[in-house]
Symmetry: C2
Subunit: 204 residues, 2 copies
């Protein structure tokens, strides 16, 4: 079995990444999110090892000490982290894994060079459209909208560090494009055993 | 306008490349074959500059002398060649160009390093299946089938020099895959003006 590929996906808040990824994963078989570690308690229906790896704070801190997290963060007093071993386990099962992390996290992954990954940036079609979408949510204060726009402006500077830029204008078209990127990456010739002539594989 | 991309596509004889490319070009807008130069006479309906650049043998030989061909060959006494300038003209019009050349021609293009291109290899699912398809044509002698199989075996060794390997098992699936590769390549971030922050482009 070939090991699964890793896709690092980043987007400014409001670019529509969450909806987009859910739709793409429903469409393409053999694709799943990376499973994060967290110190928060499981919610009803959440399964350990599927939704999250639920661990204690002591265990989490020990993992940090051992450098096992690619990246980690505190959210509402709980710890969340992405471990390389968790990603490796999914990939070894032949599943392609999507790592949904921000521009800074993606930059750390690229610099670490331990993980070969395809880096994809999801962008809103314009900052004006992004502002419209953020206002459309009806839940964000003026200060929060201004902050998110400033963050987006800064994150968009990082796009040249990504291999693919997906501009999310029309959702259905964007779903097709992101799906195409994943399907195309699966056909990359270096995924096939190198050295061993493909002719030997095809000869059957 | 962004210049069109170049796709170099190679396949062993009998892999189904011709049908596949025709179907993909009918499906994807803004994609066309490179226009070759030839010394043969136009057939009824063929247009100069569209089907071929029709030139005299003296002109063709002069172009060879000036090193204007990426590759050229003699077929049934007529000369055929692919000129870099012809490809550039199509690309400057914003059209993505498919260069349908064999493994040796593709290798020359890669070594010349003058043309940035995406290299795609179309393979039959197996040599046994290739043999079946060649026999299915009903037009090939035993000697010709043996020769084509030997060539295929040799060409398959070159697959690791290609970026993508497309195994043509089920035609409709293969059309989707090749289309996905072309669409995905159009979303490559380095196609967007580098240096200039994409934020400035998206800011509108």
């Amino acid at each position: 079995m070939t090991a699964g590929k890793l896709f690092v996906v980043s987007a400014p808040s409001g670019a529509g990444k969450t909806t987009l990824l859910k739709r793409v994963m429903a469409k393409i078989p053999g694709l799943s999110f990376s499973v994060s570690h967290t110190t928060r308690s499981p919610r009803p229906g959440e399964k350990n090892g599927i939704d999250y790896h639920f661990i204690t704070q002591a265990e989490f801190l020990e993992m940090i000490d051992h450098g096992l997290f690619l990246e980690h963060a505190v959210v509402h007093g709980n710890l969340y982290g992405t471990s390389q071993a968790a990603i490796d386990r999914q990939r070894m099962a032949g599943v392609d894994v999507i790592l949904d992390i921000d521009v800074q996290g993606a930059s750390i992954v690229r610099r670490s060079r331990q993980l070969e990954a395809t880096h994809i940036f999801i962008s809103p079609p314009s900052l004006r459209e992004l502002e419209k979408r953020l206002r459309g949510r009806g839940t964000e204060s003026e200060e929060m909208i201004a902050l998110r726009l400033a963050n987006a402006r800064s994150e968009l500077q990082a796009v040249n560090e990504y291999e693919y830029l997906v501009i999310n204008d029309q959702l259905e078209e964007t779903i097709d494009l992101l799906s195409s990127i994943i399907v195309a990456e699966r056909a990359r010739a270096h995924r096939f055993p190198s050295g061993q002539p493909i002719g030997d594989i095809i000869t059957s």
